[in-house]
Symmetry: C2
Subunit: 350 residues, 2 copies
């Protein structure tokens, strides 16, 4: 099946494009009334992720509203720990939790690297189903949490502010943490390769919590495992390269080391000036980002001004994928997303 | 009265020192059993801040245990909004809250710039009292929250994860936010100058939440006001320069602009490599930091290794004040602080 819009994949490889492609992290999400309707039919969040038909439906919803240049698999970053037996659940208004967090060395030793097709078939089924439904309209992005990010939830048992347990393990039992991260890295490789085999045309690794580490701990406990993943991924599928996007929230100081992993693109948050970032990484990788999602709470004029400033800061030439610097929040009016997408299209094709 | 140990003040001005000075953010705090005892005599946290004798007592407690090179006024960053009438209180285990958060433009318009000696006499009384008690042993640091950081609490009414209300104002009503920040900057100037007049020998501006802003919003809504403060501060007292430390948590990408404000020292968090930071700012300012407080949850050997790595990364010559990259947390064993302080003394005087 021919891909009708390959602007996103071309920009990831820094090949010429007619305009800057755009998609939005968490574009299928609670800010859309049609998402909330589907979600209420599914029941809870994980039931939605596990229902192939409904996961496919919500993945496509934002594409019906906005002329986005990519779709992203609807799923959660914590499916791997769930498949490992930690018992993921979502307490209303409290974020993800695990029934069986990791509490002892034995808990970590007994963890097994996942086999995606047997353990997480609902994810690969969703990928295959979304690809069929997309019918070549835009490329499909697969994704995973980074080993460090998954480890923090598995050790803390839930979201955290200070990562006390995870960091205690890091400084007190670093070998034990390495054992966990190694199993997670092997699992993520299996997981992303299974997504690619099922039809994902690019993949993103979400390192949501790498930015809470010291510069040296980041390299040893987060980046090293992401590099291992990048090197373990299927490089080509369907006759095309499969680009890899690394996104460490709060990683703006570490872009050069991140580019050294061999990934194709770095996701950047809004603390980074994208023009400065481009100079730092030279033309080794593409950049994805980087508007503060809060700008969408502003006026139409302020959204247009921010979009313009980011596009100008990146400058001419390919290699930029417009996005937010983090996921869109539930309070945003979908009309504001339209303003953003239109501003990217208008400003980058002049 | 002669200052017996001026190592900290000398390092702030990049004058020669015999070894690297060390103090610890929140060194008078809940990790110390003697602090918890005094606090229970005082009642709640703000009663402790407002009790001159007890505030003085807890300020000196860590100096009895550890050979630290500076004392810091025991107080809270939210005293200014409290004096402005917002009604600060601390809900058990929940952090600071305001009874009267800012909800309308009228709420902001009616705010008045504080007069420290009449509105916050308990703070200047504490400064004077601590100076007498210190009796020249080590210098006393005064401090304030930054205007942006104070504004976030005043607008949100409490701690926040996504700063939804503050950022909505920033992007929707920037002039209103500027009006608030301007009143806060004038208040902080008055507040810090009153602390200096009462005996503070250096001051630190805590910009705890500057790092959640975009690079351009940081400059416009946080840094610009800190620069205004730096320029408004008393430059000399008791025949000595009064050094100013700027600390933006998460501001590692912005050190050069921060150094341009005319401050004497930048506080840095653990995401920054201090050697890289030193190269970036040239020798324009001193650097304070930057160990992850979580290292204190590790083994003695891991603490000593981290201290050594930070000292080596900074390198030779004055201009480094050893500290954590954020406040010490209540769960830390005071013995670990001893390991840290001893390691700084041992490793930096070789």
């Amino acid at each position: 099946m021919t891909l009708k819009n390959d602007r996103f994949l071309r920009a990831l490889l820094r090949q010429p494009v007619d305009r800057t492609p755009v998609w939005i992290m968490r574009q299928a999400g609670r800010y859309l009334p049609e998402y909330r309707a589907t979600r209420s039919r599914a029941g809870d969040f994980m039931s939605l992720c596990k229902n192939t038909e409904l996961a496919c439906e919500v993945t496509l919803q934002p594409l019906e509203r906005f002329p986005l240049d990519a779709a992203i698999l609807f799923s959660d970053i914590l499916t791997i720990p769930d498949a490992m037996g930690l018992g993921l659940y979502f307490a209303e208004g409290e974020g993800p939790k695990f029934r069986n967090p990791l509490r002892t060395a034995a808990d970590i030793e007994k963890l097994e690297v996942i086999n995606t097709f047997s353990d997480l078939g609902y994810v690969t089924d969703a990928v295959a189903s979304i690809r069929r439904e997309l019918n070549g309209r835009v490329p499909l992005i697969g994704f995973s949490g980074s080993p460090w990010t998954l480890a923090t939830y598995m050790i803390e048992g839930q979201s955290s502010r200070d990562f006390a347990r995870s960091k205690t393990m890091l400084y007190k039992q670093p070998e034990l943490l390495h054992q966990l991260l190694d199993k997670l890295a092997l699992s993520v490789i299996d997981y992303l390769n299974a997504q690619i085999a099922s039809g994902a045309q690019a993949v993103q690794i979400f390192d949501t919590w790498g930015g809470v580490l010291s510069h040296s701990a980041y390299r040893e406990f987060s980046l090293a495992y992401m590099e291992k993943i990048v090197k373990g991924l299927t490089r080509e599928a369907e006759g095309r390269q499969v680009p890899v996007i690394l996104f460490t929230k709060g990683g703006g100081q570490w872009l050069q080391s991140m580019a050294d992993t061999g990934c194709h693109c770095l996701g950047i948050d809004w603390t980074v000036d994208i023009g400065t970032a481009r100079k730092q990484v030279g033309d080794r990788v593409a950049l994805q980002g980087n508007m503060d999602p809060s700008v969408l709470r502003g006026t139409d004029a302020s959204i247009e001004a921010e979009v313009g400033a980011i596009l100008r800061s990146y400058g001419s030439g390919s290699g930029h994928i417009f996005n937010l610097g983090h996921g869109i929040t539930p309070d945003i009016d979908p009309k504001k997303v339209k303003i953003l997408v239109d501003a990217v299209r208008k400003n980058s094709s002049d």
